[in-house]
Symmetry: C2
């Protein structure tokens, strides 16, 4: 039996199971959802059991658990370790969702729900591919590690990996948590940016003050925070933290030309985002700015009176969540320290500043000549009718560097998302075709990978 027809025959069930998974609000960042995160792990465990996996276990960590499962069919065959995560980003702002974030809705052949694409939908494809292979034949040994803390920096995955090196032994790691350039131009992520995420707190007076009584004489922490943030980039769009670019590995002229060959339309890009102009570091294209250059964004800011109406307050404190995307060569921990040192050093003596590192991760690049990358490319050719092009993505999957370091394994980032999925945003969605073709492509990948290791 062909993979395609098996998937077609089970399509409705494959979708309904995903809907049930999406209904559990497994927001790892917010303690009030801790119970749901646990429930989600159990849901994954049960589906693995039904699909015929072995050694299924919900492995506790000091945070949210990791679900492990495997099926070793023949020690002589290659082993593929699949990674995914079952936790999701917070759904705020809720009011911008057209339908409930945790009640999946289907519109124009897309599934709308938080986590539909990132990463419940993409991780669940691997579970269904595994189930299908129990009928169609499983060409390689399979191991699965589905974690629950990816959206909060995989805080405890490192400990898990270090403690389970034997159990995680494999030839390659397969991850679906990235995107395609487009449906017509399938791509495989050949590089990811690292991350350094911090929270800053600026404190002025010991209490909120009346802006009339004190305004003009006492430093306003919001104004000061704004000035400090503004100073983090120069007029060329470069980040001013001393030493920030020191270890950046410059990408060759050739590779930059390669990257810019992707069928990218600035006009469509701006139209899609509703902006009149892009903005970024001088001397780089949009594809390069997100793919091969580091960035700095304020992810959240708050201070003073933010309720309805007006309040003439000079607040005691102002806060911001700031993150930097890093590229190969930059070490997350080192950049975090450079930022902390710099931010503290530029604080005027009329305020006190506190910088709290949240989490980080290293950038990574994949060898596009490796067996895994070629197997993925061939799988796309079979299912999508054309080979996948290599693409540098701006996002971060810190654990890719961790796997390389701890397990010595390369990760193949074979993701099926699209920009229109708007992951991390209200109305996140995932194409039903992406989901079903993704399952098929995964099955083909394992066949291809087995072939190459014959």
């Amino acid at each position: 039996m062909e993979a395609k027809s098996f998937i077609e025959a089970n399509k409705d069930r494959f979708l309904n199971e995903l809907f049930d998974l999406l209904r559990i609000p497994s927001v790892s960042a917010d303690p009030k959802f801790a119970g749901d995160v646990q429930k989600t792990a159990e849901f994954i465990k049960d589906r693995f059991a039904e699909a015929g996996a072995e050694n299924i276990e919900i492995v506790p960590t000091n945070g949210h658990p990791v679900v492990y499962a495997d099926k070793i069919i023949d020690e002589s065959l290659p082993t593929v370790l699949v990674y995914g995560h079952y936790d999701v980003q917070p759904a705020d702002p809720y009011e911008l969702w057209e339908t409930e974030p945790f009640e999946p809705a289907v519109r124009n052949n897309r599934i709308y729900a938080r986590g539909a694409s990132d990463d419940k939908g993409q991780a669940y494809m691997h579970l269904k591919a595994f189930e299908a292979m129990q009928t169609l034949g499983q060409p390689v040994n399979l191991k699965f590690m589905i974690e629950g803390e990816e959206e909060i920096g995989s805080k405890h995955l490192g400990e898990f990996v270090k403690a389970n090196k034997e159990r995680l032994k494999a030839d390659v790691i397969l991850i679906s948590d990235t995107g395609l350039f487009s449906m017509d131009c399938p791509s495989i992520c050949s590089g990811l940016r690292g991350l350094s995420y911090l929270e800053v707190e600026v404190t002025g007076p010991n209490r909120d003050l009346h802006s009339g009584q004190y305004g003009g004489a006492v430093a306003n922490p919001i104004n000061v925070l704004a000035e400090m943030i503004a100073s983090l980039k120069d007029e060329k769009g470069s980040i001013t933290v001393p030493g920030f670019y020191d270890n950046v590995i410059e990408v060759s002229k050739e590779e930059r030309e390669q990257l810019n060959k992707a069928p990218f339309s600035l006009e469509e890009y701006q139209k899609d985002l509703g902006i009149d102009a892009v903005s970024g570091e001088d001397g780089y294209t949009t594809i390069e700015r997100t793919g091969i250059r580091p960035s700095l964004d304020v992810n959240g800011i708050w201070g003073g009176y933010i309720g309805e109406g007006a309040k003439t307050v000079l607040p005691s404190q102002a806060f911001a969540k700031i993150s930097m995307r890093l590229v190969p060569g930059q070490k997350s921990e080192e950049i975090t320290q450079l930022f902390k040192k710099h931010f503290e050093s530029i604080a005027p003596d009329c305020v006190k500043v506190k910088v709290t590192p949240h989490h980080g991760g290293e950038a990574s690049v994949t060898n596009i000549d490796s067996a895994g990358f070629r197997a993925a490319s061939n799988a796309f050719e079979k299912v999508w009718g054309k080979p996948a092009i290599p693409m540098r993505e701006g996002g971060s999957i810190p654990i890719v560097a961790l796997f390389k370091e701890e397990l010595g394994l390369n990760s193949i980032l074979m993701g099926f998302g699209l920009d229109e999925d708007t992951i991390h945003s209200p109305n996140e969605s995932y194409g039903i075709d992406n989901y079903l073709m993704g399952i098929e492509t995964i099955i083909e990948f394992h066949k291809e990978f087995a072939e190459m290791n014959k």
Copy 2:
């Protein structure tokens, strides 16, 4: 009978009545308290009735109502129009209150509650002074106008005043909504700053984006807002809005020397606020920075993810509430337009900016040789044992300029608050001595004012 002994005899009731008034959360800025604002107006009306006032009326406006009352004892006597407001600032952040903001608590001879000082406590002194004078003798004709929208810019008081010029005819206006330099150094406010309050909205992409996928290529509205706010002041602490200072009436060297004679200790000021350094416009002392110079403060800022944990979002929008304190010469409406024009002009083309004026008011100065000012100074000398010094305050009471313009009347700002009242902040309080001595001082003021007009 002496005012002092009458007040002493009625002390407990005078306090309990104020506590009842403070229990009603009359937050004018927040629609959900609209019913309480109305209740407060009725409370004031009933107390006036009990005290023997006449022509008592809750006058509706297009916003919150104005409570009017009077007692004309002899057309040949001078008439004092008393102004106050019964609405209060929002109590947020609630968690910083040691005791409930709307359940008054007495600690070390101070009343802790939102509005204890600003302005319920100070306005109610006039009600109790009026009651006392019905026994002690009322030396002047009295009119009262207690409004419910001062904390939101007295939005509809202008219409009320224009429509009631006859009813509001008087010789002077008396207002207690300001502070004393200290208990040992009573002062009368001789000048107030004006206000221009706006809300700004910066919009980048049409939806929240993943900061990894887009960070570095798409302008982040929070970063842009921070840059725009930072650019509003130069390195000298001067405001950069073109034309901002054009009409500022410079204060004479003599008056500046006068102002700086006040027994002000920078060390104590910083200690009280818990700051290591003050900050403001170069070339001016702290007293001058709040008294005679304009200022610009961000009263609130918000955007992106402000919940617990980390969210790697590049938000669609960022917001800020920004207010400017103005000095004589600067017209609120004109400054508002200058700011709007400037803020829109400095917006980079990668974002859209919207500026919404909230409310404003004009600055004012009082002639310290006027009968009213001298009457107030003498009243202080009688009750506090020393005359009051003139002081420029940083706050705004926009209606003072309105009264001058519409009614042709000067306002005497005889307030009894202290910096430690921390009005507009959590744990606002008002000294019981200030409350009781204030009542006595008000009674003496009316005697003095009657004398001067004999």
